[in-house]
């Protein structure tokens, strides 16, 4: 298998990360926001895998597993929260949640 160079891998990860971040900033739907966070986390995970490949050790892939596990836990809580959010505020628009300010 031809090796993917470190730089290319990191750039891909960076692009994904930025896509996720921009999505987080622009989209108002809470589920989509959670999805964007997922994208960001996975982009970071990808970066780890690439880095691990560069150094020829399993550390990168191990970290990716950690990231994955953690993302799953977060999403689980996040989705439960999204349900509650919908019940309280009527819709999944994140901008609705601005009761507290100042």
């Amino acid at each position: 298998m031809a090796a993917v160079s470190l730089d290319h891998g990191l750039i891909l990860a960076a692009i994904l990360f930025v896509i996720g971040f921009v999505g987080l900033l622009t989209r108002r739907n809470l589920i989509v926001a959670l999805a964007c966070i997922e994208i960001m986390l996975n982009a970071a995970g990808l970066a780890f895998v690439v880095a691990g490949a560069r150094w020829g050790s399993a550390d990168g892939q191990v970290m990716f597993l950690f990231v994955l596990a953690m993302a799953a836990a977060e999403v689980a809580v996040g989705l439960a929260l999204a349900i509650r959010f919908r019940q309280s505020l009527g819709r999944l628009d994140v901008d609705d949640a601005d009761e507290m300010k100042g």
């Binding site: 971040f21 622009t26 901008d95 949640a97 601005d98 009761e99 507290m100 300010k101 100042g102």
Partner: protein, 630 residues
């Protein structure tokens, strides 16, 4: 026994805490027990410690008890430590014992007041702070006590806060003493930066070793400490607050503004006597300030018609005597007079309180009169107190201490005739105003009826203090009376011995006779003017020039007017003129700036989640840009 030293300030402090926390839940009785009891217990322990100290003195005649080190950083490691020597023993016993008597008196005096618990809370805190002040081993702890008594003084002067005038009096006291306190703290900074310690004993040793007599730094340090002392002890020019401090309840005036807090300045100077010995000019200034103040106060006292204001000016003048003694290196003499003064001044104030309460709150002496049969305890207390104040020969304690000071003012190495004459003149005036008070209040026609009679809790302290005012002086008899002076020997273990000029006129029998005579003459004059020919005196006082002089003295020689015109009015005028000008906006501008900044920042917290993320992102971008481009 000496290890119990920390209990002495701890008991009133505990009393304060208990009264603070259980305020609403305590009955009058419980409050009185806790408030007066804590000080009483403290007095018992103090006396036991004193006895132990006197009978078996610790090595070096000083006992140091270190409780703990407050904090330890960069060379400054102040400890919570107490230092007990002969001088602090005297102060400690006087503060606790006289304090207890006054607390006992207050349980009856304040019994109908709704702020009963609050009163004892503040009084306990005061006693605790004052004890910390006199027992402190380092100047930082002393300053803590100093500030504590200042705050309590303010709280207690303004105690009857429903009348806003009382609050203004408290505020005035606070501000004027603040001026002195600022000088004191600058002095502390100076001492610390020069000698790298704030512990009093090493400080004195270090100063003696490293500073030449008359050197600039010694003069500066002594002068700054003097500034602090002058403020707290109500000497010229920071004396204007004391007469107004009489707005507080009479026990407050007795304890704080007569027996203890106002003597803090005396204590400070005596404690740091090494510095003053190294700066003879400043010490001379102390003597001069003392003398001028005592004369000023005597004249002012002559013209007052509020019974407490007479006593306030009297306190001012007696402290002037103590300053005079300190100024001529009569250290022990000053402490002796402090002790006797505490007895007879507290006595006078407490008796005045009896009179005021008996007449339903009347303070004007010209509305009193003829009370000697109606209030016998108060009458006899007043006679003894006034006699002691006038230093009538032999049978009063004031005689022994005041005449010792007058003697020292001439006979000490640093004494001179002007100081002596000033002290003598003051003595004459003192007898006059003291007995003026006695005659006007207790003799003549009764103007106001007596509605309340004191009971045992107000009478007992009067009796005890009367006894002390008579016998308290017998611990230091003058040379020509046999030289029985255990008190002086005791204090010599802590304070330098006064250098005297051998064979000075001051120590002759003639001088002593002269001094005694003057006191008696004063009483005689007062009798003549006020008992025999009161009407003639009134006619004299009504004439224009005497009347103006009297008004001048009544208003404290116009110091309030002076300060008002020199300081207050120009500042207010400047503030008015400068409003809208450069200076005002600088201050209100700061406030406005803060408010605008708040508005802007608060608007940024708009509750929008995506905005929060955005701000974080922008922050990140800025940081990254900064890091990468650098």
């Amino acid at each position: 026994m000496l290890q119990l030293l920390w209990i002495v300030p701890a008991l009133p402090a505990a009393g304060f805490v208990v009264l603070l926390l259980l305020n609403r839940h305590l009955s009058r009785r419980a409050t009185a027990l806790i408030g007066a009891g804590s000080v009483g217990l403290s007095a018992v322990v103090a006396i036991l410690i004193a006895v132990s100290f006197i009978t078996s003195p610790p090595p070096g005649d000083a006992y140091r008890q270190v409780l703990w080190t407050w904090f330890d950083t960069g060379g400054l490691a102040p400890q919570i430590a107490f230092y007990l020597d002969a001088m602090s023993v005297v102060f400690m016993v006087v503060i606790t014992f006289v304090g207890f008597l006054i607390h006992l008196y207050s349980t009856e005096f304040m019994e109908r007041d709704e702020g009963f618990t609050r009163f004892f809370m503040y009084m306990n805190l005061f006693v605790a702070s004052m004890l910390v002040l006199v027992l402190a081993d380092n100047l930082l702890l002393l300053y803590l006590g100093w500030e504590g008594v200042g705050m309590c003084s303010y709280l207690l002067i303004a105690f009857w806060q429903k009348d806003v005038q009382n609050v203004y009096c408290g505020r005035k006291a606070f501000i004027v003493t603040r001026v002195g306190d600022t000088a004191l703290i600058v002095g502390l900074f100076l001492l610390f930066t020069q000698l790298h310690t704030l512990e009093i004993q090493p400080l004195m040793a270090g100063a003696a070793k490293n500073w030449a007599a008359g050197s600039g730094v010694a003069v500066a340090a002594a002068a700054l400490l003097l500034g602090g002392a002058v403020g707290k002890s109500a000497q010229l020019p920071l004396q204007t607050w004391l007469p107004d401090a009489m707005a507080g309840p009479t026990p407050v005036s007795a304890l704080i503004h007569a027996a203890t807090m106002v003597t803090a300045g005396v204590y400070l100077i005596a404690r740091t006597n090494v510095l003053f010995t190294l700066a003879p000019d400043v010490r001379l200034a102390v003597a001069i300030i003392g003398t001028v103040t005592l004369l000023y106060a005597c004249f002012s006292a002559l013209a007052q018609h509020d019974i407490k204001r007479v006593l306030a000016y009297s306190t001012m003048s007696q402290i002037g005597y103590m300053f005079l003694a300190l100024g001529v290196a009569g250290w022990s003499a000053a402490i002796f007079h402090f002790m006797t003064h505490a007895f007879f001044k507290a006595l006078l104030f407490l008796a005045a309180g009896v009179v005021i309460e008996a007449l339903g709150g009347e303070h004007d002496i010209f509305k009193m009169g003829g009370l000697r049969r109606k209030l016998p305890t108060a009458f006899w207390a007043f006679i003894i107190g006034a006699a002691s104040l006038s230093a009538l020969p032999l049978i009063t304690d004031g005689f022994y201490s005041k005449d010792l000071i007058i003697e020292t003012s001439l006979g000490a190495v640093d004494g001179n005739a002007w100081l002596w004459l000033g002290a003598l003149a003051g003595s004459l005036l003192t007898s006059i105003y003291a007995f003026r008070l006695v005659f006007v209040v207790f003799f003549g026609e009764q103007q106001t009826p007596v509605t309340l009679h004191p009971r045992w809790r107000m009478k007992l302290p009067l009796v005890v203090l009367s006894v002390l005012s008579v016998v308290g002086g017998f611990v230091w008899l003058p040379g020509w009376m046999g030289g029985f002076h255990p008190f002086e020997t005791f204090l010599d273990t802590a304070l330098p011995v006064t250098q005297t000029v051998a064979g000075s006129f001051a120590y002759t029998g003639v001088a002593a006779l002269l001094t005694s005579l003057i006191a008696v003459v004063g009483v005689a004059l007062a009798t003549v003017w006020l008992v025999e020919s009161r009407a003639a005196l009134a006619r004299f006082a009504a004439r224009p020039t005497p009347h103006d002089v009297q008004t001048f003295w009544l208003n404290g020689w116009g110091f309030d007017w002076l300060y008002e015109h020199v300081f207050v009015i120009p500042v207010k005028w400047f503030a008015r003129v400068a409003r809208g000008d450069l200076v005002e906006p600088a201050f209100s501008g700061i406030a406005w700036l803060n408010l605008q900044a708040w508005r802007a920042l608060s608007a940024s917290q708009n509750g929008q989640l995506r905005v929060y993320i955005g701000v974080a992102g922008v922050g990140l971008a800025v940081i990254v840009a900064f890091v990468v481009l650098r």
